[in-house]
Amino acid sequence: MSDTEQTVYDTVCELLQRYNREGRELRPETDLNAELNIDSVAAMDLIMEIEDKFDIDIPINLVGDLRTVKDLVATVRSQQEGA
């Protein structure tokens, strides 16, 4: 992971803590739905928090493909580059 990627990863993990009710250890491979119980509605709220934090837009069209923490980080990075 590059420094920038690490920073994004750390921030995303911080934002995920509110949803991490069972206090699981977060890894890049952690599954948002299966392990953190983030359903499609909660995912929408999470995305908005991430958008505000990084000052980016994440179109809903992309949300269906986000399965893991790593996917979230990659999407933030690609949207930052597009900005």
């Binding site: 359903d39 499609s40 509605v41 929408m44 995305i47 908005m48 000052d55 980016i56 837009d57 179109p59 809903i60 069209n61 597009g82 900005a83």
Partner: protein, 404 residues
Amino acid sequence: MDILAKYDGLAERRDLMLEAGANPFGLRMEKVLSPTEALVNGRRTLLVGTNNYLGLTFDPHCIAAGVKALQEQGTGTTGSRIANGSYALHEALEEAIARFLKRKSAIVWPTGYQANLGMIAGLAGPGDTILLDADSHSSIYDGCRLSGATLVRFRHNDPADLDKRLARLRRQGAAENGALLVIVEGIYSMLGDIAPLPEFVEVKDRHGAFLLVDEAHSLGVMGVCGRGVAEAQGIEAGVDFLAGTFSKSLGAIGGFGVSDHPHFERLRYCSRPYMFTASASPASIATVIAAIERIEQEPGLIKQLWRNAEALHSGLAAEGFEIAAPVSPVVAVKLPDERLAVAFWNALLQAGIYVNLAVPPGTPNNSCLMRCSVSAAHTPEQIQGVVRTFVEVREALDASAPAS
């Protein structure tokens, strides 16, 4: 794997809900008696959750128009308007809506759901960007998906958040290769809160975007003439497209879109939900035309609706209930959790009052609601009865709750 196994979790939650009493999402009315009453489980029940805002479902003028159309033009049209032709009635309805809303063109769809699908997927396509209010109705989300446009949500009723996102999207070039469409609702169906349209219009104009407002719950409800939130807020000229439904204040079924855009009629051959569905039946169409005439002739109906809304809102608030939004014909009482909400809903029904149970994920901010919709046809005594019953149910549930 069973094809329906993916719904196991939802089915379990539903079964739990059924253990608490009647089915909140499958209520059966054995006989509808009037705009405000029906027989439910053999009991005369007051309807406070039907969106029958003006109480026109039993209006003699509307019924007579429907019966006449049914007898003279048959039960159904048996086909779509592009493949099988329009009846003169369809065009008469479109003229009536355009006249009522003071717009150049109107297009009708067989349901309100399809109207949103048809408007959104007709207006926006791949390459365009839609910015939609986060609390939008499912028909708006579905229309957005069908459009193939890039979809960005903004915070509910927050013009500043829309402004920030439009600025960001334009910096990224979203306006260079496609159009920008902003979608909001007039009155939001769950909480009854109202969009600040003048602020949204200012923002979308500054960014060169188009604005579509869904007035499903505000047509015939807001504005002196009933043209919706845009009329009430004096901003009709700033709204590019309006969509709405016939199934609430107009007491029928169907939906519409209107606009002054010079090419709006192109949707008739470019909007799939318009092209590939059978057109509404003559009786449905005729009752809508008659209902529009009733609103035009009797603005007193809207005043009566608001008197009733004010009475229910202030009555419940005075008894200490928390109501989700300022006065509107949607009065949503907040309850702390789903278990209590289900018990409350069942107790109200047993006491002869039907409201809507609204729980997550169908509600904003995970709220649990007793959603009431007020009608002009409710009597002052009925409204007082609703308030009294809410208080009695709360007392009964408090008394039966285990001491903490």
